[in-house]
Structure formats: structure tokens, C-alpha cells
């Protein structure tokens, strides 16, 4: 294994980011390894999707650095940024398929944009990518005709079209039925292992994510609360992690949103 292989794929240092007055990240440090499935977990609204956008260079941090494959993504010029993005795939929560073109054309889109492949080669490649996600038969369908799970699988085929070094999954399991969820869990793991792609999965679906993750970062209140393997998290002594992993309704994250005393509130008409 070369020296480069051992360096983290994504290196985040002292990351600060706010939206208006709300602090989203308050000094986050993270090393995301290569060829592993890394899960980033936390409750809704903790900025998991924002973190992916910061890694992809779509947002700029107020402070701190994000290095992807050794390059500080926020100091790159547009050309270099786009060149780097060609090696990064992203699966959006909604799929983000282009709605005016067919499934085939959606998967072919990045290939048409960035390569000069002949049409027969392009067709073969697209069909292979669709076969990998089990949707070769759906190539002529329009995005509006697909179920949510199928749309995500097509988006996954599109994300792997250019054979990227990494794929970022934004809440891949949200709103999926058990079968679609099982398919996506299997696909993420098998793509990671078969194509040696590094995967970053952002999710709050504990069971499915822990099933496939090699390493987990748990974030809350703008910081990494805990990190480790799924087994380490399962026996974590931190109350917060226990509450999150077991889905307890009350704990360090209270059931009640902060409010005045109930009796006082009821008596004050």
C-alpha cells in the first residue's frame, strides 16, 4: 500500500460554518478514510447535508479547511474544482434527476459532458451502470414514472458513471420502503467493495447505516460527539450516543423543547 493510500481521503480541520445566527459547525475535525464506508450520523438539522456540500465545495466555510484527496477544495479555482468534482459522485436525497430526459439520458449525461466516447461505447457503459443498480430494463422510462427508490438507484448509476473515487450519499434511506432500503444498503456496500469507491453516508437511519458502515462519526450541536466503529458506538458510555443509537425519546436531547414552567404557563391566561 502506497503512502498516499494511507492518507485520509477527506481531511477536515477546525471547520466553522453558520447560517444567519445559527451555528452549524463549531470546530469540526474529521478524517475520512479511503475505500471505507464512513457514516456521518446525527439528528435532523445538525448540518449533515451541509457538511456534504462543504466537502463538495458548494458551500464555503467561515473558518477551517476541507481537503479532498490532498487538495484544499475551497482554494481551488473553478476549473480545478470542476476537475476534482468529476472524481466525486453525489447521491442527493431527492435523486436530483433531470426531469426532462429519460433514465438512459440521465445516466449518459455526465459521460456526454465530460468524455468523447462513441455512441455505441456510451450505450454499453450506460447499460452496464444501469445493470449494476438493477434498472437496465427501466432505461426508457422518464424520472416522473419512477418510484422514490428507483429514482435513487438511477441517480446512483449516474453518480458512478464517471467511475469516481468517492460517493457522498445524502440520506439515502429516508422515505424508503423496507425492500428499497435493503436494495440501497446492499448497493452501497457492494459498490464500495467491488469498485473500491470510498463512501460517505449521511443518515439518521441508525440500523441500516450501522449495518454497512466501517466507521461512524456522530455529530451534534456543531461538533463531533463521538467516532469509532459501529461496535464501539454500540457500547459507548456517552448518554447522548446511547440515546441516539437506541432511539430513546428522552435523555440528553430532551423530549420537551425549552419552555417556561407548565403550571405557570397554564395559569397565565
Amino acid at each position: 500500500m502506497s503512502v498516499q493510500d494511507e492518507t485520509p481521503l477527506v481531511k477536515i480541520r477546525n471547520l466553522h460554518f453558520s447560517r444567519g445566527n445559527k451555528v452549524i459547525f463549531d470546530g469540526v475535525d474529521m478524517d475520512i478514510p479511503r475505500r471505507k464506508v464512513t457514516a456521518i450520523m446525527g439528528p435532523s438539522g445538525t448540518g449533515k447535508t451541509t457538511l456534504l456540500k462543504l466537502i463538495g465545495g458548494q458551500l464555503r466555510p467561515e473558518q477551517g479547511t476541507v481537503e479532498v484527496d490532498g487538495e484544499d477544495i475551497h482554494s481551488l479555482n473553478t476549473k480545478a474544482l470542476y476537475k476534482l468534482r468529476m472524481r466525486m459522485g453525489m447521491l442527493f436525497q431527492s435523486g436530483a434527476l433531470l426531469t426532462d430526459i429519460s433514465v438512459f439520458e440521465n445516466v449518459a449525461y455526465p459521460l456526454r459532458e465530460h468524455t468523447d466516447l462513441s455512441s455505441s461505447m456510451l450505450r454499453k457503459l450506460v447499460l452496464m451502470k444501469l445493470e449494476a443498480v438493477g434498472l437496465r430494463g427501466a432505461r426508457d422510462m422518464m424520472p416522473s414514472e419512477l418510484s422514490g427508490g428507483m429514482a435513487r438507484r438511477v441517480a446512483l448509476a449516474r453518480a458512478i458513471a464517471l467511475d469516481p473515487m468517492m460517493i457522498m450519499y445524502d440520506e439515502p434511506f429516508t422515505g424508503q420502503d423496507p425492500i428499497s432500503m435493503g436494495v440501497l444498503v446492499k448497493l452501497i456496500r457492494s459498490l464500495n467493495d467491488a469498485a473500491h469507491i470510498s463512501s460517505i453516508v449521511v443518515s439518521h437511519d441508525v440500523q441500516e447505516t450501522l449495518e454497512i458502515a466501517d466507521q461512524v462519526f456522530v455529530i451534534s450541536n456543531g461538533k463531533v460527539v463521538e467516532s469509532g466503529s459501529p461496535n464501539e458506538l454500540a457500547v459507548s458510555k456517552l448518554d447522548w450516543t446511547q440515546q441516539f443509537v437506541k432511539g430513546l425519546p428522552d435523555g440528553p436531547v430532551p423530549f420537551h423543547y425549552p419552555a417556561d414552567d407548565l403550571n405557570e404557563d397554564l395559569l397565565n391566561s
Partner: protein, 262 residues
């Protein structure tokens, strides 16, 4: 005292927000125009937009032009006949259409039909993360999505305005010559003799090009800058139509003053 302070703080915030929005709008315009080479590389992108923005508006513009021309013919005939000048009906109809009504009414209809559609389309693409998706595929969404629409609008508008004027002249002829008995030869020959290529037609074309730029720019910017929610999109679409209408009417006065003022 505090109320007054709050008032000024809010006022300041609104002014800064408006200035920021204006700045974002101008930056987007520069980026869209700078992406012109994308159209040269892929002319099919422009042709597709010419179809959606231009061709699909033809029926609306033609019919509206015909009706406006009919009204002009009718009103013009009754006014001119008081002075025994019905023979000048053709000139009056053509000059009104080519100088003013053609570019202005076409632009207002364009903002309502194509402008609102552009805002809704771009806003929905943003809300459904299609624009972010393009960015992550290393495709610049401004050059790939907005620039072809911008130039599609700029090319379509003068052509649509010309069609509006053409059908308007025919509408005026239908009422004036067909129904009210104005002499056919006089209608056309007076128009031919009095309508000036530079003074009337070129100035009308300049107006419609300016309106095309402004309407398409407003529509695309409102969509691109919209809040990605159903309420945000609804507001953006409304803003497109309202701002476009103000811009068209305001600019029309300025352009008319510059072109025909002494």
C-alpha cells in the same frame, strides 16, 4: 426612541438586502452572457429554448396581435372619420403597432407566458436539487441551463414582436378595409409611404430587444434566486410578472424619450 431605532434598523436591513439582491442579479447577468460560448459549442441548447420560449408563444402573440389590430382599426376609424381622414387608418395602425404596442404588449404577454414559466422551471430545478446535481457532476448550471434560456428569450422577443405587429396590421385591415369600407389600396400605400424603416421599425426592434433582455433576465434571476419552497416559488413567479411589467413600461418611456424626443 426604541421604536424609531427599530424602524431605522429594519429600513437599513431592507436597503442592504435590496442592494445585495441587485448585486446578485447583475453578477448572474454577467455570468449568463459570459457563457455565450456554450451556445456556440452546442447550438442545440439554444434551438431547444427557441422552441419552448418562442415557438410555443406564437399562437398567443399572433391572436393577441390580431385582436389589438382590430381594436385599433375600429377606434382609429371612428376618430379619423371625424376629420375625414379614414385614408390614414393604415398608417395609424401600423405606426402604433410598430413603435409602441408591438414591443410593449408582446413583452407584457411574454412576461406572463414565457417569463413565469422560466421562473417556475428554474425554481423547481433548484428546489429539486437538479442545479446542485449539475454542479456536482462538474457541469456549470449557469452556462448549461440559464445561458441558452437567456439568449432564447433575447432572440425570440423581437421576432414575436414583429409577428404581433404583422398580425395587428392584418387585424386593422380586416376591420378597416373588410368591415368599415376603407379603400384597400389607400390602407397599404399610405402605410408604405409613411412608415419609416429607421424611425419606426428599427426603433421598435431596439425596444423589443431591450425588453427581451430585461424580461428574460428578471425571469431567470427570480427562479435562480428563489427560496426553494412552494411559497418561495409562488412569490418568485409573481415577482417575475410584476417586476417585468414595471421594467417594460418604465423602460418604454425612457426609450421613447431617447428615440423620438427632440
Amino acid at each position: 426612541m426604541r421604536v424609531i431605532m427599530d424602524y431605522f434598523v429594519n429600513l437599513g436591513r431592507k436597503v442592504i438586502a435590496a442592494l445585495e439582491k441587485t448585486g446578485r442579479g447583475h453578477m448572474l447577468f454577467v455570468k449568463m452572457v459570459a457563457g455565450f460560448d456554450e451556445i456556440l459549442r452546442r447550438p442545440s441548447l439554444l434551438i431547444r429554448q427557441l422552441f419552448y420560449i418562442g415557438v410555443l408563444s406564437v399562437l398567443l402573440i399572433s391572436l393577441s396581435g390580431f385582436f389589438v389590430g382590430m381594436v385599433l382599426g375600429l377606434q382609429g376609424f371612428y376618430t379619423l372619420s371625424q376629420f375625414g381622414a379614414e385614408a390614414s387608418l393604415g398608417v395609424m395602425v401600423a405606426a402604433s403597432l410598430v413603435r409602441e404596442l408591438g414591443p410593449v404588449v408582446t413583452a407584457l404577454l411574454f412576461a406572463g407566458r414565457a417569463g413565469s414559466a422560466l421562473t417556475a422551471e428554474i425554481g423547481l430545478m433548484k428546489a429539486t436539487e437538479q442545479l446542485s446535481g449539475l454542479e456536482m457532476m462538474a457541469v456549470n448550471p449557469v452556462r448549461r441551463v440559464l445561458t441558452p434560456r437567456m439568449f432564447g428569450g433575447i432572440v425570440s422577443m423581437p421576432l414575436l414582436a414583429a409577428m404581433f405587429s404583422m398580425f395587428g396590421v392584418l387585424g386593422g385591415w380586416f376591420v378597416g378595409v373588410g368591415l368599415l369600407g376603407v379603400d384597400d389600396g389607400t390602407y397599404w400605400s399610405q402605410m408604405q409611404g409613411k412608415i419609416d424603416l429607421h424611425e419606426d421599425i428599427y426603433n421598435g426592434v431596439i425596444k423589443s430587444v431591450v425588453f427581451g433582455v430585461v424580461c428574460t433576465w428578471i425571469a431567470l434571476f427570480e427562479g435562480f434566486d428563489s427560496t426553494p419552497t412552494s411559497e418561495g416559488l409562488s412569490r418568485a413567479t409573481t415577482r417575475t410578472v410584476v417586476h417585468s411589467a414595471f421594467a417594460i413600461l418604465g423602460l418604454d418611456f425612457i426609450l421613447t424619450a431617447m428615440m423620438f424626443g427632440e
